[in-house]
């Protein structure tokens, strides 16, 4: 699965480019994300604007990132389409992430949150 990566300040913005994250691609997706975290990235923004459908294994891959960070970092999501958001709500995963409509909005919010955390 192709994932584009860009760093803005200390926020790693990851954009999966395939329209579907499911059982056939979730392992690779998770593997790449784990690698990014193991390289020391702790503040991650997942831009899901290309994603049309994600199944439970894809959602499971995202949850596993939270577990890996173990409270010592931040993951936010942006660009979620309605269909994908309905799956987050179905699983109640919408209650454990912060969602933003665009990468710019998300980055701004994460910067502010980062400053508050340091204070």
């Amino acid at each position: 699965m192709k994932i584009e990566a860009e760093t803005i300040d200390d926020i790693l913005v990851l954009t999966p480019c395939d329209p579907i994250i499911d059982a056939s691609s979730a392992a690779d997706f998770k593997g790449q994300l784990v690698t990014w975290i193991q390289e020391g990235n702790t503040r991650i923004l997942l831009d899901l604007s290309f994603i049309e459908f994600i199944d439970s294994s894809g959602l499971g891959a995202i949850i596993s990132l939270l577990k890996l960070l173990a409270g010592k970092g931040d993951i936010c999501l942006c660009g979620i389409r309605d269909q994908v958001m309905s799956l987050f709500k179905l699983t109640r995963m919408d209650r454990i992430f912060r969602f933003y409509s665009s990468p710019a909005e998300a980055v701004e919010a994460m910067k502010v949150a980062g400053i508050k955390a340091e204070d």
Binding site: I20, D55, I63, L87, L90, R95, R98
Partner: protein
Amino acid sequence: MDSNALEPLKNDPNSLRDSLFRHLKYSLGKEFHSKTIRDVYLALTLSLRDRLLEKLLETEARYQAADAKRLYYLSMEFLIGRSLGINLTNLDIFDACCTALMDMGIDLEEVREQETDAALGNGGLGRLAACFLDSLATLDYPGFGYGIHYEYGLFRQEINNGYQKEKPDHWLSKAGPFQIERTEESCIIPLYGRIEHGLDLDGNYNPMWVDWRVILGVPHDIPIVGYGAKTVNYLRLYAAKPSSDFDIQIFNAGDYFRAVEQKIKSETVSKILYPSDTFDTGKELRLVQEYFLVACSLRDIIRRYLKTHQGFDGFPDKVNIQMNDTHPALAVAELMRILVDEHSLEWEAAWNITQKTLAYTNHTLLSEALEKWPVGLLEHVLPRHLQIIYEINHRFLGEIAVLWPDDSDRLNRMSLIEEGAEKQVRMAHLAIIGSHSVNGVSALHTDLIKTSLVPDFFARWPERFNNKTNGITQRRWLLKANPLLADLLTETVGSEWITDLTRLQGLEPFANDPAFQDRFRKIKKANKENLGKIIYQTTRLKINPDSLFDIHAKRIHEYKRQLLNVMHIIHEYFRIIEDGHEPAVPKTYIFAGKAAPGYWAAKQIIKLIHSVGDVIHKDRRVKDRLKVVFIPDYRVSLAEKIIPAAEVSEQISTAGTEASGTGNMKFALNGSLTIGTLDGANVEMLEEVGEDNIYIFGLKTREVQEMKQAGTYRPLNYYHEHDSIRRMMDAFWDNRFCPQEPGLFRWLYHHILEKGDHYFHLADFLSYSRIHEAVYSDYLKIPVWNRKAILNVARMGKFSSDRTISEYAREIWGLTPVH
């Protein structure tokens, strides 16, 4: 530009003929001269569908303009039967269509025979649902059916050497194109998976349902037209398909077999109707089917609601959902899950909305027949729902503990969870707790629900419990099934009875009129002759149309006591050959019905009926005064031919076992006299038709209950004290009806005499025999018999499903017709 620019379709014979030609050519690619009768059937169905869809869209526009409250009837079964005839009737184009086809040299009856029954149900519960849809549309209520699009309906019954053999019913391969697939309204349904326990952003407990598998629910709509064609609602049936993206990815990855395996597994969900009319313990597929129905329905209902409304405070004002038995009871947990998990409502608000939206109909009196699911199975298939059920139970028991302190027995009795070696979820309790209304289906049944079945719940919420006596649609069961009688009635009292069955009271002055009686009797004779032809075609038995037609047609079940009927036939046989009794008029006993494939005793009773018939028919001493017939493959279209021919209708369940019955109503409406116990709706039929016009016998419910509780019933006493009983029972031991297969029916001897005769056959035998004598005596007095039969027809007004639905609409759903 909009479709209103189209000219409305016309229904005169020329327009119908043009429609038919157009569909033959452009839908089927056939020239007229090369058509088959099946082509004509398909083209006619498509022509009717055009007209139904035109009205369906008009109806929907009317509902939207009124922002009408809608009723959704959730049922695992809809026993629809054939649709072509009822559509022609309700569209009021039967005669026009007949003319159009006749002009083309085609017989409408031959076309109608091309249609196969849609048998998406087992018996009364499924047929009730279908009658209700007819009444909802006829009364202009926004009421819709939601069910499962089974690929295989109830099995076809063949008889082989007297034994039932089940054959698959692939109805879809022969189904007409009435249905419309609505792929664009498919739903994604999650199943299985596990709960990941976590915390939300505020640090509160947050259970997440993860690792689920997904199936797709694809709706298929069948238009349901009310009489007079002002309203067309729909029955939405969901078919299960694999989630196609998932499927394609695996295929692309090269694992073809896994892709196909997953495809097959997903499609299994809607593959076949469970053929039992009691529940199948622990069958995972059945649980998945029930959730599939509930999940697809609720998704669809909420999606439609949210298109035109904000928030859920007004949801119960716009939506009511009726659960037909406990099969859709998961709707309680699923609606809570959607409101709380997906729409972030607080628990109390969600619970308030859920209770105001849902209502439950109970169809069972036997507590052992109440549906339960093992907790382990629910945890495996629906982990989040199990959590919700536990939470519902916790809060509910908390309330009960406050109201009835220090009463742990009550808590155990009322709990949603039944303790034991394997914990089970009591679905009836879930349905009751989650609903604002709980109804039985006859006055007697509702009374027993309150006093015997769930008295603790009645004590907690007396206001929720109410009765809605079942009913039947006179349009299918008289107007369509018995056109000769329908014409006579219309000629006599006008046609208003078609939409107001109480108008048949106008027949009462004619009950003694010789000319009317004569026409009435001739119609019955003609119907009997038709049935005689069908019996000959299917069994090769020749039946005397001048004999008394005594008919017992329903599912084969011990509590319905086909066995009691056979016992009496054996008694009558012995009276003829051993006692020298010479009945003046011959009798034909007709049975029909299917046994659940796994129900051994019911299948043995079918064999018994055939074996008794074989012996009687070969015995020259009988001289054709007694015939015993079993007509195979009982289904709605066959019932429409059997019922009009009946003169005596057997409704002889052990008192306290049949919740209502609806066959009883159909027979009486068609001029049959009832032999029955005081059970189910027979009690109300007695009240309506009068004790002179119905033949009641046997123990009453209270008597049966008392004997059971005291343990005082001794079948052996009856055996020893009564010669007729002993002679009849000894016949099972002595192989009188199975000379070639000795011992075949000895199980009956043991079952009845030594194992307690659970359904009180011997206790009711003498009373049953006496009532048959009374029936026979009246039958010989032709004017007396005709009068009683006519009065039955005249007094069945209460038992129209129009009355039943009006009561549901007024008292449970708060529904208003949209004219």
